[in-house]
């Protein structure tokens, strides 16, 4: 356990009693006949990083995709329970999913830049949402986003080259830039670093740490270290259940749940 402890100690101190940004209550998901989530109740605090961990197939991605209703795109997926964003039910028929997704952005496991130029990749969101009134404003948004995603320096002289031509780590940062360009309130990240090498991973982790100031972040990861490094709250999933949730520090030092303990003391990496 020493090394996790070491990592935790380097991580930022958890601040107490942040307001709750998203609330989920008894969330269930069925894929056809198969139940993938059996009632998950979890509060996601504002301006913090919440990490979801757990063995493969336990429902982390499924849960994440409920938060901005990306599950709507899967025909057979049926979502039950209550999910509140700032107190509003996101599955309320009156709620507009487009607006919801603009407020709750998402970054995926595999970097998926559009086959467009770097500029257009980032400008895509602001354009469809009409966030910029002029070319200048758009430029401004794109540059800021790229800068915040720590990519600007590397690409500023080739903004009109295709985004698909970047390296894996750059592509992932481009996707993050693309997500923050629409100024979401929450950013969901599904294993954002699993395709990246350590150096690229480090850059992205630093970025997440910075973004925390302004955004609420939920991240799925397989790497215990990563969870320990970047998150303040950790939720452990197991076979569709929320096994345990708590401050990251506590989760890694003194888990309550037997399953959590087994999982994090297994060999990891």
């Amino acid at each position: 356990m020493e090394n996790i402890q070491a990592t935790l100690n380097r991580g930022p101190a958890v601040q107490a009693a942040k307001p709750i940004k998203m609330k989920t209550k008894d969330v269930t998901v069925h894929y056809g006949a198969k139940q993938a989530l059996n009632g998950v109740t979890l509060n996601i605090p504002e301006n913090q990083v919440t990490a979801l961990i757990g063995p493969s197939g336990c429902g982390k991605s499924t849960y994440l995709r409920c938060l901005n209703r990306m599950n709507d795109t899967i025909d057979i997926a049926k979502v039950g329970g209550e999910i509140l964003l700032d107190g509003e039910d996101v599955y309320d028929p009156d709620i507009d999913v487009v607006e919801l997704r603009a407020r709750v952005g998402m970054v995926f496991q595999k970097p998926n830049p559009f086959p467009k130029s770097i500029f257009d990749n980032v400008a895509y969101g602001p354009k469809i949402h009409g966030l910029a009134r002029s070319k200048q404003e758009l430029d401004e948004i794109v540059h800021t986003s790229l800068r915040r995603a720590g990519l600007y320096k590397e690409v500023h002289d080739r903004l009109d080259e295709p985004g698909t031509g970047l390296s894996g780590g750059q592509q992932q940062r481009l996707c993050i830039a693309r997500a923050i360009a629409v100024s979401p309130e929450v950013i969901l990240m599904d294993e954002p670093c699993s395709a990246l090498d350590p150096i690229a991973t480090a850059t992205v982790e630093e970025l997440i740490d910075e973004l925390r100031e302004n955004y609420t972040i939920v991240i799925v990861t397989h790497s215990m270290q990563q969870a320990a490094r970047v998150s303040q709250l950790t939720a452990m999933f197991h076979l569709g259940d929320l096994a345990e949730v708590g401050p990251t520090e506590k989760m890694f030092s003194n888990p309550d749940d037997k399953r959590t303990q087994d999982y994090i003391t297994g060999r990891f990496g």
Partner: protein, 440 residues
Amino acid sequence: MSDATANGIAATAAERKPRRDIGIGRRYAAERRFKAYGIIAIAIGLAFLVMLLTSIISKGYTAFWQTEIKVPITFTEKVLGTPEQAVKSQTKLLMANYPQLARDGLVQLLGISADDKKAVSAANGLISSGTRVTLRDMVMNDLSIIGTTEDVWLYASSELDSAMKGQYDLSVPENRRPISDLQLEYIDKLKSQGAIEERFNWGLFTFGASSRAETAGLGVAIIGSFYMMLIVLALALPIGVAASIYLEEFAPKNKFTDLIEVNINNLAAVPSIVFGLLGLAVFINWFGLPRSAPLVGGLVLTLMTLPTIIIATRAALRAVPPSIRWAALGLGASRTQTIFHHVLPLAAPGILTGTIIGLAQALGETAPLLLIGMVAFVADYPATPMEPATALPVQIYMWANEAERAFVERTSGAIIILLAFLAIMNLTAIFLRRRFERRW
């Protein structure tokens, strides 16, 4: 929702960050419009399909029925000669005046005087002149029939048939329609005697070409089309797949493969009649293959279908993930093994689609056949693909140009049969596709 904390959070959120106006209403309207366009597009396509099918079927379904008349035929020795004579020489029997037998029978049935020339010729106009062959075959098969009387169902003439099906405007003056009032009277009489009946038109499927609508059938055309499809399938599919494999999996990317690629795309744009010119120049005039033969037709259609199959197959091969290829290669499979063991089976559904589209095109094509002599009157069944035959679309094309009313319904009837062929092919493909897809 009503609890205070929730409201409190909402309030703080609202304070901190005013809701943006992201033009939701406008964008949803665009979304609805876009979706509606899709539905409209599909509706347009399906509406046209329904329109075409209804018009074809409503015009053509009657072709599957044919009016027949039950006539008592006396096989008199006066006309046929005695059975003994017949055994000695068949010439008399072959050349005998069979139509007279039919005419006499009908005259007797209608109870008109044999001397009334006008009445007899009107009655004679009710039965097909194709009865010669029917009756001759009866006699030749069984000489003992000579001297007896037997009720025989004879084909009615196409005029009677069309009149029965209501295809003539009977309100116009008598001299302007092919069927006279007297004949109409006879028809009523036959009806009342129960000697006239609409029966299923098997002949439509079995007869060869004929100038008489009632004895015209698609037999030769079906055989011809069948041979040609067999040849196209046997040649175009393997050649197309082989060419696609070479181009996708082996060929180095160079000028030569570019040349082949451009060539294939270009051949897809060549008007089909030009393939007929090619067939005439190369297969008939140069190789000396026979005219009007399904073999040549099949070869021409093969060349015509190849581009379609190749284009579809290449797309299907390209869609097989490279990781499958690497997996096999990494195990020490050779390229050929990789392709034949893994890539082809995975690409099979796509290859099938291409093949079916290609075959459908080939099945419905007339123009190239015009120049290699397959748009022809062929009465006898071909024994081999080297002998003259026609094809389904050719028969449709030729019937469409016939003046007689009875051919109008037969044209649509033939189209229905062609579409049935197509449907069978499509269903087979869908079935095969399912099998290939369902396995994994």
